[in-house]
């Protein structure tokens, strides 16, 4: 079997498991009993089904779902049931039982690629040093920083000592302030990007600009101060709330519907290996 067909088969089987786990009921439908709990014992559950009592033996393969007031089902152990609970009980289809181990398997599989990142970085930077490319000394700093970070990481959770000090210095006194600093760059970049890009070149641009000003001023006290004497529906904060609650929600919902349908299509194409351009140069 060629490599591509093998990949396609494995992809299909993996996707098939998740698809079935979602659409197949957690209990075998024709052997599932629905009713109201009358009594519970370690050996059996007594349900009232269509006016008649029915005993369900408590077995390792039994799955019980209790109906919450919201109408949604909740997986529970038989011992957690109370008289009056509306439940459905039946033998498990096993698909959901395997979900956590399957997820863990893919997490472990994915974590094997973590080494790839470090290897890729090491290759690039060692190449810089070997060939003395411009600013190669930055690559030396990279290796020193990796070594220092690994040593400092050993101090995580330590009670005291120099390792804990190193951990504090690297993560609390260097990394955290630097993260905040990088995040704060956004304020400057947003200002210049807005100044450069927002020009009223058309009617739509004018509308966008107006709503942007309304929302921006409505979010800050100055908007309240500017319009506090006007009727409430003309005050900037109230208008900003309308834009965010009504106009924005409608747009977001529309976009999300489109994106979710698109996500179904992309997922379907990858599952059935119909996707072209990314991994396959010809159809299977």
């Amino acid at each position: 079997m060629t490599k591509r067909r093998f990949i396609a088969l494995v992809t299909f089987l993996a996707g098939l498991y998740y698809f079935l786990e979602f659409v197949v009921p957690p209990t075998i439908p024709w052997r599932t009993v629905r009713g109201e709990v009358v009594s519970v014992s370690p050996q059996s559950i007594t349900l009232l089904v269509n006016g008649q009592q029915q005993q369900i033996p408590v077995e390792p393969t039994l799955k019980v779902y209790r109906e919450r007031p919201t109408g949604a089902p909740e997986s529970v152990e038989p011992a957690q049931l109370r008289p009056g609970d509306r439940v459905s009980a039946g033998p498990t289809t096993y698909l959901s039982d395997w979900l956590t181990p399957v997820n863990n398997f893919f997490i472990v599989l994915g974590s094997m690629a973590w080494g790839m990142g470090l290897i890729s970085l090491a290759m690039v930077h060692s190449g810089n040093i070997r060939r003395r490319r411009p600013e190669w000394y930055g690559s030396v700093v990279f290796f020193l920083a990796v070594g220092g970070g690994i040593v400092a990481g050993l101090g995580y959770g330590a009670e005291g000592g120099w390792l804990k000090e190193a951990n504090d210095v690297v993560f609390n006194y260097l990394l955290r302030p630097m993260s905040s600093t990088v995040f704060s760059l956004l304020a400057f970049h947003m200002a210049t990007a807005s100044y450069r890009a927002f020009r009223v070149k058309s009617g739509e641009a004018a509308l966008m600009m107006t709503s942007a000003f309304v929302v921006m001023l409505g979010q800050i006290p100055i908007g309240l101060w500017l319009t506090h004497g006007l009727p409430s529906f003309l005050q900037l904060p109230v208008m900003a709330q309308w834009v965010l609650y009504i106009a924005n929600s409608a747009a977001v919902r529309g976009m999300w519907f489109g994106m979710m349908v698109g996500a179904i299509a992309v997922g379907l194409r990858f599952w059935l290996s119909l996707e072209r351009g990314a991994f396959f140069d010809r159809e299977l």
Partner: protein
């Protein structure tokens, strides 16, 4: 929702049927029309421009995990960009913060250059894992833009707040920038700082649009049919609730979490 109820199951089956039906219809030669998407049109122009200037391009597939739909769509665009770049003899640098993306991107780009007969132009060091977090990756990518003097920047995939940290420095280098994301709240940042922006589901349509493959076109048309059904449900639901109250027959029929 841990498991599909009847309505969700019907919806999944119906949407999947529509998409697969149109895919197989398109494969038999009955394709369809896609409206113009300016951002995607300009990708080839940008690649040509970078080639003329003799400078490399940067492709950034976002900060999402490889199983994220946006990342998968971005990798589809990467395949197209790599193929065009290989045909023109140009260089593509891929930067990412997700280690799993490195071998996938490497495979895509290497294949593209090999098929174009330019395998000597492929350099595995051009597929770079630069940092583990988005903000560090953005700064490192900005550094690469300045060092390599890139002429075209492509930002496709899932982005968080670091989008502007990537595109603003990129603006200053004078490169042409094309971005596409399904993250609704990053779109304004891309619009403000990039030359062309692909919004929301247009990213998912990118593979179809660029390759004009019947499979992709059919999938796109199937999606549109599914959206029409969703629209019809919304309109009927709104009308029925307005005219008949919130517990009417239609709402009971559609009912969620039951």
């Amino acid at each position: 929702m841990e498991h599909a109820n009847l309505q969700i199951f019907i919806a999944i089956v119906l949407f999947s049927f529509l998409i697969l039906w149109k895919i197989f219809t398109a494969r038999r030669g009955r394709g369809g029309f896609i409206r113009r998407i300016p951002g995607l049109n300009e990708i080839d122009e940008a690649i040509g421009r970078a080639t003329e200037m003799g400078r490399p391009m940067i492709f950034h597939p976002g900060v999402g995990e490889v199983q994220n739909v946006g990342t998968l769509a971005a990798l589809g665009v990467l395949g197209h960009v790599a193929r065009k770049a290989a045909q023109m003899g140009s260089r593509v640098i891929v930067t990412t913060a997700i280690p799993v993306v490195v071998p996938v991107a490497e495979d895509i780009v290497k294949q593209a250059y090999t098929q174009a007969g330019r395998s000597e132009l492929f350099n595995s060091e051009d597929i770079r894992f630069l940092a583990a977090s988005g903000d560090q990756l953005a700064l490192a990518t900005a550094n690469v833009m300045e060092q390599e003097k890139t002429a075209a920047h492509f930002f496709f995939g899932m982005y968080d707040y670091t989008s502007l940290l990537l595109t603003e420095p990129g603006q200053r280098t004078g490169a042409i920038q094309i971005a596409g994301t399904d993250q609704y709240f990053q779109v304004p940042f891309f619009i403000a700082s990039c030359d062309y922006t692909v919004i929301g589901e247009e990213l998912y349509a990118a593979s179809a649009y660029l390759t004009r493959e019947p499979t992709m076109l059919g999938s796109l048309i199937g999606q549109d049919y599914a959206k029409i059904i969703v629209l019809a449900v919304i309109v009927l639901g709104a009308l029925s609730t307005t005219l008949l109250g919130s517990q009417n027959f239609f709402v009971q029929l559609i009912g969620v979490y039951r």
